[in-house]
């Protein structure tokens, strides 16, 4: 048993950290690539969002969960998940404002000459991907924080 506080401290492995430093930008780029190309190639925003989330999980495992959460700020995670849902809803509601149906994509073409395709792209890129990425990260951080019964101040 190594007892003195110094050697007993757990230090992260440099090898793992450096590899994650290298791989993370590629993984994030690939996640974004899949998100943007859901319309034309296999894969899509769900998969892309999952990979974006995994990138953060990768960083969290290599550098520690608490520092990663501090870096990412809770606001980002919440904004991703909630913002994605909002974008999806708004894109769906716009045609309704003009008396068409919910999520009626052809409306955009008739009204403003925007290709139907961009309606689909909007809900995929702006909606599904952020929701999935945000929820993956969020669940990870919430589970990592563990189960806590009502906070009780036991110090006094």
């Amino acid at each position: 048993m190594r007892l003195d506080a110094e050697s007993d401290t757990y230090t992260e492995s440099q090898i793992i950290m450096t590899t994650v430093r290298i791989v993370a930008p590629f993984a994030l780029t690939y996640g974004l690539f899949l998100t943007f190309h859901g319309a034309d190639t296999p894969g899509g925003s769900f998969q892309g969002g999952a990979i974006i989330g995994s990138t953060i999980l990768m960083i969290a495992f290599a550098f520690g969960i608490e520092p990663t959460r501090d870096w990412l700020a809770n606001r980002t995670v919440v904004a991703l998940a909630a913002g994605g849902t909002a974008v999806f809803t708004i894109v769906g509601l716009i045609p309704m404002l003009y008396g068409d149906n919910f999520l009626a994509h052809p409306f955009f073409e008739e009204q403003w000459g925007i290709d139907t395709k961009w309606g689909l792209e909007a809900i995929e890129i702006g909606g599904v991907a952020p929701i999935v990425a945000g929820v993956v990260m969020g669940m990870f951080f919430v589970i990592a924080a563990g189960f806590v019964v009502e906070e009780v101040d036991v110090d006094d």
Binding site: S13, I15, I16, T19, I22, V23, F26
Partner: protein, 118 residues
Amino acid sequence: MIETIRTVAIVGFILVGLFFTLVSATGVIRLPDVYSRAHTASQADTLGAGFALAGVALALGFSTTSFKTVLLLFFIFITNPTAAHAIARAADEEGIKPWTTDDDRTDADLYEEAMADE
């Protein structure tokens, strides 16, 4: 003629890849402890994958798609040794002692030790 050479080269690459993957599988099954198994897992397997992917790249010809196999290879070469290191490190952290030649512990003993540690 060139087609024939290419075909032979593809088959050759895949066979070499298969051979090294076979070595890796044999090593993973035969070797006595987690550290020595990690050797074959990270090495023979990486090389086997390398040769097999080279065969695929050759078949795809010079195109953007075959470039993807190079990317695959690049990432495998970065991540595989790291994974092996992570596993060996985990084993060391948990206090699993490496097997040595004067050691006659069997797999069953190692299992007992692992359970006792927990």
